[in-house]
């Protein structure tokens, strides 16, 4: 850096290393537990060295689940995947279209549309839990993919993100398109879309994780085991009744449930970091 202060540098490295250790430790322990058998995981203290039962545990939980979530975990992972993908793709498409309309068009009731979308920022699921469940239930969408995903697709944050980005696009672009005789949809597809790539990538990561990690909504909507998502399934594996929690299986499930979002974050890290930070400006 600017000056050379070894002591200070060492202190900073130490802090960072402690931070990393605290961040990694629980997951390491989860990994160890996931490799153990039932007897080994109940040993106090837990061994810090992984054992050999990882694949058995994965196989067992994939087909049998555990505890209260005694249905195949593989199915729950699939549900989470569908939910995350539908929500992220749906959100991106819908918000982009709305933001495009709001920024690039002049039409009556435009402001009304804008404010209606804005209001949803003040209405997270938590303040309208039971009525929303009733609405979904009366449309016979309980325990369906539609019920899991549709209500979560209309997000004001994504619309605003796109709106802010679109507003930074220079007027000349649109003029040039007009001169070329391109219509509105052409302009969107050929010009705006390619320019939005970083935003779309960042938004994809954010919404995928948002969809994958949903907790309250699936609990309310899916009472059928086969339609439950991975994150919720893990919580119901923790016994609240007579049977002991099968921690080795629970930890295996947590590892499996952490992998896809992790993969998404790490593989798209660059765009994600840039898009996230830039877009909040």
């Amino acid at each position: 850096m600017i000056e050379n202060r070894r002591g200070f540098d060492l202190f900073c490295h130490a802090v960072l290393i402690v931070g990393v250790v605290l961040v990694v430790f629980p997951v390491y322990i989860a990994f160890c537990a996931a490799t153990m058998s039932e007897a080994e995981v109940f040993n106090v203290p837990l061994s810090l060295v992984p054992s050999t039962h990882l694949f058995e545990n994965v196989a067992h939980i994939w087909t049998h689940g555990s505890g209260s979530a005694a249905s195949p975990f593989g199915r729950m992972l699939m549900n989470s995947l569908v939910m995350a993908l539908v929500i992220s793709i749906g959100k991106i498409v819908i918000s982009m279209l709305s933001a495009y309309a709001i920024v690039f068009f002049r039409f009556p009731f435009k402001n009304l549309a804008f404010w209606l979308i804005f209001i949803t920022l003040m209405l997270p699921v938590e303040v309208r839990i039971f009525p929303t469940v009733q609405v979904v239930s009366s449309m016979h969408m309980s325990n369906t993919y539609a019920g899991l995903t549709l209500p979560l697709i209309a997000s004001a944050t994504a619309t605003f993100l796109f709106r802010q980005f679109f507003m930074t696009l220079p007027d000349e672009l649109m003029e040039a398109a007009r001169i070329d005789g391109a219509g509105a949809l052409r302009f969107l597809w050929d010009v705006v879309l390619p320019l939005s790539k970083t935003n779309i990538a960042a938004l994809f990561v954010i919404t995928f994780i948002y969809g994958w990690n949903q907790y309250l909504w699936p609990i309310l909507i899916s009472s059928d085991q086969s339609m439950q998502t991975a994150v919720v399934g893990i919580k119901s594996m923790i016994a609240s009744g007579d049977t002991a929690t099968e921690w080795h299986l629970v930890m295996t499930a947590t590892l499996l449930a952490m992998l896809p979002p992790l993969a998404v974050v790490l593989s798209m890290q660059r765009w994600f970091v840039r898009g996230l930070v830039d877009s909040e400006k």
């Binding site: 505890g67 005694a70 009733q134 239930s137 009366s138 009472s223 119901s236 009744g241 007579d242 002991a244």
Partner: protein
């Protein structure tokens, strides 16, 4: 007839036959939503499969919906949107809520009557059926299915180690305290208990012939007030608080946490649901025994009878007559002696009919499985008094939570038993008034 007409009529006849045939084959599907997890759920599936195989008119579809809370919430949500299941399993503390929803529920006795299926209400164990019967007419409102009582489990090996006679479970609370002291001296945790509201207040009251609430524990009206803060119950909680202070009573959680403390060998004596027997048998690596709930010999008339926990099956409205006929037939099947006896033996829940109990005795089950009849013996100990038939209080799940919270303060030595029970009764009464209003 012209050949054309012949052709048309043969085709229509064939179609009618085919259509008619497929109609006859399409069994009426009956949804049965329950909260029986893992092994229990598999037993339920077996029973449903056996019933479905035994006839072709109806098909019972059991669906596991999660915990009792979740199952009830799912049932309500489905009802509100017009697609309720025909049969819903609801925990015992939800009984008042179900009774209040008169339009949503069809009393089981009515279902049987309208379907023309005979129902012998006297066949049920009195203290079980009284919980779920109309207090005025005595007819069954819901079908008892899985009921349990609190039972005492003790670690025989630990008793031996602590110098206590392993063939004698403590009969009175005084004996329990003495035994716990010896266990503690031998380096173990003495006594623990699960479901404290159910065991230490609700059942303690009934076992000692006292009321838990006015209006015969709420059976006679929604204007009941709680009465568990009387000197009798306060003294008992004081007794436990003293044990907690001595370290002979350890509180580990509101639900079944005490059971794992028991089968891990930690605590030598535990009171919990009779349904825990299966798990204790599976996980305990020592010899153990069961006993009835302890009582206080100084109380006249004790021990009286136990009151049940568990759940029952409710029939929701809005379906057609064919469905209800199938429901009646299935419920009759469930409570037939052979099926009910097998359910009792497989799960540890009480036999719901005396016939099932007698059949099990005849099969020599209790000889092979000592302790499995402790629960039913407690139920049949004495004929129930008007206020020891069970509970029928609104918002009971929340009242239990309130009791849990207040008692936790007692174990932490932060409140005296009288303060805690008074506070719990007053908070609970607020909830009862709210419930009363909602149904008016």
């Amino acid at each position: 007839m012209s050949s054309r007409k012949l052709l048309v009529s043969s085709i229509s006849l064939a179609a009618a036959l085919a259509f008619g045939a497929s109609q006859a084959q399409a069994a009426t599907e009956i949804q049965f939503w329950h909260a029986m997890e893992s092994a229990l759920g598999e037993r339920v599936n077996d029973i449903a499969n056996d019933f479905n195989k035994s006839q072709s008119d109806y098909k019972i579809v059991p669906v596991f919906k999660g915990s009792y809370d979740q199952t009830l919430a799912a049932g309500i949500a489905a009802y509100r949107s017009g697609n309720a299941p025909a049969i819903l399993q609801v925990y015992e503390v939800g009984t008042a809520t179900m009774i209040q929803a008169k339009k949503a529920v069809i009393p089981v006795s009515d279902v049987f009557k309208q379907a023309g299926v005979p129902l012998d209400e006297k066949a049920f164990v009195p203290t079980i059926s009284s919980y779920y019967s109309d207090s005025k007419t005595g007819h069954l409102i819901s079908m008892p299915f899985n009921s349990s009582t609190p039972v005492l489990y003790y670690n025989k090996d630990a008793f031996k180690k602590a110098g206590i006679d392993p063939t004698h479970p403590p009969k009175t609370w005084g004996e329990l305290e003495a035994d716990s002291k010896k266990l503690k001296a031998a380096g173990m945790c003495g006594y623990s208990s699960g479901w404290q509201s159910w065991i230490q207040l609700e059942n303690y009251s009934a076992w000692h012939g006292a009321a838990f609430a006015s209006k015969n524990n709420g059976f006679d009206g929604t204007d009941a007030v709680l009465e568990f803060n009387k000197p009798l119950q306060v003294a008992h909680i004081q007794f436990l608080q003293n044990m907690a202070k001595d370290g002979t009573f350890t509180y580990v959680g509101r639900k079944d946490e005490a059971v794992s403390k028991f089968y891990s060998g930690d605590c030598g004596i535990v009171t919990n649901s009779s349904g825990s027997l299966a798990n204790i048998k599976k996980y305990a690596k020592f010899s153990f025994g069961t006993g009835m709930m302890p009582y206080d010999e100084s109380v006249k008339g004790a021990p009286q009878n136990a009151i049940i926990g568990g759940a029952s099956l409710w029939v929701l409205s809005g379906k057609d007559a064919a469905t209800y006929k199938g429901v009646a037939k299935f419920l009759a099947y469930l409570t037939s002696p052979a099926v009910a006896a097998k359910w009792h033996q497989d799960t540890g829940y009480l036999p719901v009919t005396t016939a099932a109990y007698e059949l099990t005795q005849k099969q020599g089950f209790y000889d092979k499985n000592p302790g499995a009849d402790t629960a039913i013996k407690q139920m049949l100990n004495k004929p129930p008094l008007p206020f020891t038939k069970g509970l029928r209080l609104g918002n009971m799940p929340q009242i239990r939570t309130i009791v849990d919270e207040e008692l936790e303060q007692v174990w932490a030595q932060k409140k005296t038993p009288k303060e805690a029970l008074d506070s719990a009764a007053s908070r609970g009464d607020d909830l009862l008034r709210r419930f009363e209003k909602a149904g008016s």
